[in-house]
């Protein structure tokens, strides 16, 4: 069997950032192989032609292709091999990767380290079980985005969008700019799942109504979508549609932006532990999964709202994989589990592996609901505060982060504490 030091599965922003970081940490570029399933690297950013990427990372506003282009250039400058049209078919927990590509055929490679960077997929109509007919014209927002931005065609002309995730909001604007009429964006929750800036720039600026606490209850049309029925939902009754509130929209297209699911079929196949809240692998602060030497970063780990954070997370994974291969990783003394308290849905990482001399660890997390005037708190199981920060507003659509300073982690290490709790406290009523 062929051997390789580092295999990175996915050549999107996560995989490329990880590859670049691994080289910058001392790994020889020829020891890395990036496997990309599409015909060119860059991932889903290649079809995200709107601006808004890179403010944190590069201090300027880039389009998706520009952002991915920078990472492709960095990878090429370093001579990192990227194999396109390469689909990984299976992975084992001892890092055997089987993939297929037109160039290499059907191949299995034993790797010293693997970085999972497969990204995510969109939730579909089937996952929501929207009743009605099954005509043409029901697209996930990303599929419609591909038709417009890559293929150069219009997926429809009179559009209703279900779900106010960022892709849905972006597509409301994109379809409008291309001459389509977007009748409404319906959101089953009482708040949008997208970034506030996208609501303003993509809906408000174009006069597109956002119908909160509404959902699509029926799809009509035999061959092509002819209309959808929208109804208000009852917050107090499991968000069930409220009879009598139905409204019919004549349209030829229904776009779905109802959530992203980390694409972890390979991870699951390898028997790696998953976090039920993130639907991604459970990791330590280096993004190492339960399988030693297998790391995960980007949207395959948890869905990010900014690609800048994906790159940051991938850097961490890339450096850690390089350190493992080069044999210069600090030995782990003991692990501490991160748990979620009031108002916190999940954290990444889920555990911190403490070395003798701990370093700062940045904890990413999402809140469970919209809150105003809160304090974000990280404390030990014994109640000792490690971080405490005031925030005027938080929402599930915007990822939060707090850094635990090295000195505090050194205290935790010595205290024998086994758990760290991340929570929010409400400083006044909602």
């Amino acid at each position: 069997m062929a051997e390789h030091k580092l295999i990175i599965i996915g050549g999107g922003p996560a995989g490329l950032s990880a590859a670049v970081a691994a080289v910058d940490a001392g790994l020889a570029p020829e020891d890395i192989l990036v496997l990309e399933r599409d015909s060119e690297p860059g991932g889903i950013l290649n079809q995200c032609i709107h601006a808004g990427f890179g403010l944190h990372r590069f201090g300027e506003e880039l389009t998706g292709p520009e952002y991915s282009g920078r990472y492709i250039a960095m990878a090429r400058e370093r001579g990192i091999p990227i194999l396109c049209n390469a689909m990984v078919l299976s992975l084992t927990d001892d890092r055997r990767v089987t993939f297929v590509s037109p160039e290499t055929g059907y191949t299995t490679i034993q790797a010293e380290a693997v970085i999972l960077a497969m990204g995510c997929r969109e939730r579909t109509r089937g996952a929501l079980s929207i009743p009605g007919t099954r005509p043409s014209g029901v697209y996930t927002a990303g599929c419609a985005q591909r038709y417009i931005n890559i293929e150069g065609y219009m997926p429809g002309h009179r559009v209703v969008i279900l779900g106010s995730g960022d892709i849905g909001l972006i597509m409301a604007r994109r379809m409008t700019l291309e001459g389509a009429k977007v009748l409404a964006v319906c959101e089953i929750m009482p708040y949008s799942g997208g970034l506030a800036r996208n609501i303003v720039q993509c809906l408000d600026d174009f006069g597109i109504p956002l119908k909160l606490s509404h959902t699509v209850v029926q799809i009509h049309g035999r061959d092509r979508v002819e209309g959808v029925t929208v109804a208000a939902v009852d917050e107090a009754n499991g968000r069930r549609p409220i009879p009598g509130t139905e409204e019919y929209f004549a349209c030829d297209t229904l776009l779905l932006s109802v959530g992203l699911i980390p694409e972890n079929e390979l991870t699951r196949g390898a028997g790696i532990d998953l976090d039920r809240m993130t639907n991604g692998a459970s990791v330590n602060q280096f993004r190492e999964t339960s399988a030693p030497g297998v790391y995960a970063c980007g949207n395959v780990l948890h869905v990010h709202d900014l690609v800048d954070y994906v790159s940051e997370e991938a850097d961490t994974a890339g450096r850690a994989a390089a350190a493992r291969i080069l044999g210069n990783a600090a030995p782990v003394v003991r692990s501490v589990k991160l748990t979620t308290g009031h108002g916190v849905r999940y954290t990444v990482p889920e555990r911190i592996d403490l070395a003798e001399e701990p370093e700062d660890v940045r904890i990413f997390f999402r809140v469970t609901d919209v809150y105003k005037k809160v304090r974000l708190v990280i404390e030990t199981g014994a109640g000792e505060i490690l971080v405490n920060r005031a925030k005027s507003a938080v929402a599930p659509g915007e990822m939060e982060s707090l850094t635990i300073p090295a000195a505090k982690l050194a205290q935790v290490l010595r205290s024998g504490e086994e758990e760290i709790l991340v929570k929010l406290t409400e400083t006044e009523g909602r």
Partner: protein, 483 residues
């Protein structure tokens, strides 16, 4: 062209009949209203090759189901279509259900089904650890099997085309006439001539009988819609065999079964509907199925549903299938009211219908150069189903097999190109989906459908805006308006 036999309807019954006739020295055509074979009830049912204990002894249903069960397995093997002998349980909840299970056991034995037995809770739970703790008995039928109903129908249709059968799609029969012993069947723009006509028009078969000129036709059809869920392959292992509930006055009930592709199928309910082509699902119906599934398997994760759909059965106003030569119109054979177990029965129904054609005077001799496979050069097994060595060899031979287009179901570009060159070329998204499962996985085509459409457009010399999801009018995209 004068055909010896014209079959109306390319569902499983029509296609199996065409395939069987293609082994003989006769010229056969199939006229189908839809854009493909297997677009009606054959595409949307429980995908079970029933053992045959349900049908009352002495009926055609019983005779054809039991024989069809055996023939279906043989045909799947011959055409390279997967068929798994998973067996089925009819689950009883308490002593009250025992008499019904005994009744089914007796019927099954009378119908000649081997190895049927009633088993107790311990054995049932050992075989199916996820069934409800309230399940106390089951009728175990090891000969029940699962396959892909449209998969085997497509395979049989390809085999038929390879042996000279002509398929006419988008051919909805609107009128028929007769001159001497020749039937002229038209869709309004095109007319086909044949000596014999077989009406296999499924839910429209009573209407077709009237078009063919039957007066006071004894059979009326009530379309009955059944809704289903398909669950992700990640939970496909929760059931090892088909799990029915003991029939009661509440109907045959909802089943949970593995599919041959590794998913779970859950359904159906059964409601009469007015419009026989109305295959829409309802919120109430889907909720009913979820509840029914939980009765069998309390912890079934319905949140792992990847899609839902509905099929329409053609329930006749009599218990049995109506398979008869017309007593009014010479040369016309009817297969009407073919409801469940119509799919499991179909290879045997085809034999029966061919027998009726012979009785009506059609002379049949074996075709010496009959080709027993889907194509002249074999069955063209999908890349994903090959062994590792075969996969590697196939990629070396043609790099297109190394390019995965549908990642959820591991469909290669080579497979898609192969289907564009098939005896019935796959030229729509749904045709590709049915043949290769491209777009049938957990992402439901979100990723691959633009790529599949682009490949069809490129290879057929069409523009992307001319490619349909299924029939005419099911367009995917239009050209952008130039500013």
């Amino acid at each position: 062209m004068l055909y010896d036999v014209l079959i109306i309807g390319a569902g499983c019954t029509g296609v199996m009949t065409a395939r069987l006739l293609s082994t003989k020295n006769v010229k056969v055509a199939v006229a189908e209203a839809g854009p493909d074979v297997a677009t009606g009830a054959t595409a949307a049912n429980s995908a079970i090759v029933h053992a045959g204990y349900d049908a009352k002894p002495g009926t055609l249903k019983a005779q054809l189901n039991v024989r069809g069960n055996r023939l279906m397995k043989e045909l799947c093997a011959a055409l390279g279509v997967e068929c798994k002998n998973v067996g089925s349980h009819v689950i009883g909840f308490g002593e009250g259900d025992l008499p019904m299970l005994e009744e089914l056991l007796a019927r099954g034995r009378a119908n000649g089904i081997p190895d049927l037995e009633i088993i107790g809770q311990d054995r049932l739970r050992a075989m199916e650890p996820n069934v409800s703790p309230e399940a106390t008995h089951s009728l175990w039928a090891p000969t029940a099997a699962i396959t892909c109903p449209y998969g085997i129908t497509i395979a049989a249709a390809e085999n038929a085309v390879t042996n000279g059968v002509d398929f006419y799609f988008h051919f909805r029969v609107t009128d028929a006439s007769r001159a001497g012993d020749i039937h002229y069947i038209t869709n309004g723009t095109e007319t086909l001539a044949a000596r014999y006509v077989v009406n296999c028009a499924g839910v429209h078969s009573a209407e077709v009988a009237a078009i063919l000129g039957e007066n006071d036709f004894p059979i009326t059809i009530t379309p009955r819609r059944g809704e289903y869920f398909i669950l992700d392959k990640a939970v496909g292992g929760l059931a090892h065999s088909t799990l029915f509930v003991c029939p009661s006055d509440r109907g045959k009930g909802i089943l949970v079964s593995p599919t041959v592709d590794g998913n779970l199928i859950v359904g159906p309910n059964a409601y009469p509907i007015g419009d026989s082509d109305d295959r829409s699902t309802t919120a109430e119906g889907l909720a009913e199925i979820s509840a029914g599934a939980r009765r069998i398997m309390p912890d079934i994760p319905m949140n792992m549903a990847i899609t839902s759909f509905a099929g329409v059965r053609s329930t006749p106003n009599q218990y049995d299938f109506y398979l008869k030569a017309s007593d009014q119109i010479p040369g016309v054979i009817h297969a009407v009211g073919v409801e469940p177990p119509g799919f499991a029965s179909s290879p045997a129904t085809a034999e029966y219908l061919v027998g009726l054609l012979e009785e009506a005077g059609l002379a049949l001799t074996d075709k010496p150069d009959y080709i027993p496979t889907r194509r002249r050069d074999g069955n063209h097994i999908q890349w994903n189903r090959l062994t590792e060595e075969e996969k590697a060899a196939k990629c070396r031979e043609n790099p297109a097999y190394g390019k995965i287009v549908c990642r959820c179901e591991t469909v290669t570009e080579g497979d898609l190109l192969d289907m564009l060159d098939a005896p019935i070329p796959a030229v729509t998204i749904d045709m590709m989906k049915k043949r290769l499962r491209a777009g049938m996985g957990r992402c439901q085509g979100g990723f691959c459908s633009p790529r599949v459409a682009a490949l069809i457009a490129e290879r057929t010399g069409h523009d992307l805006d001319e490619i349909n999801k299924s029939g005419p009018g099911s367009w995917l995209v239009t050209k952008r308006e130039e500013a």
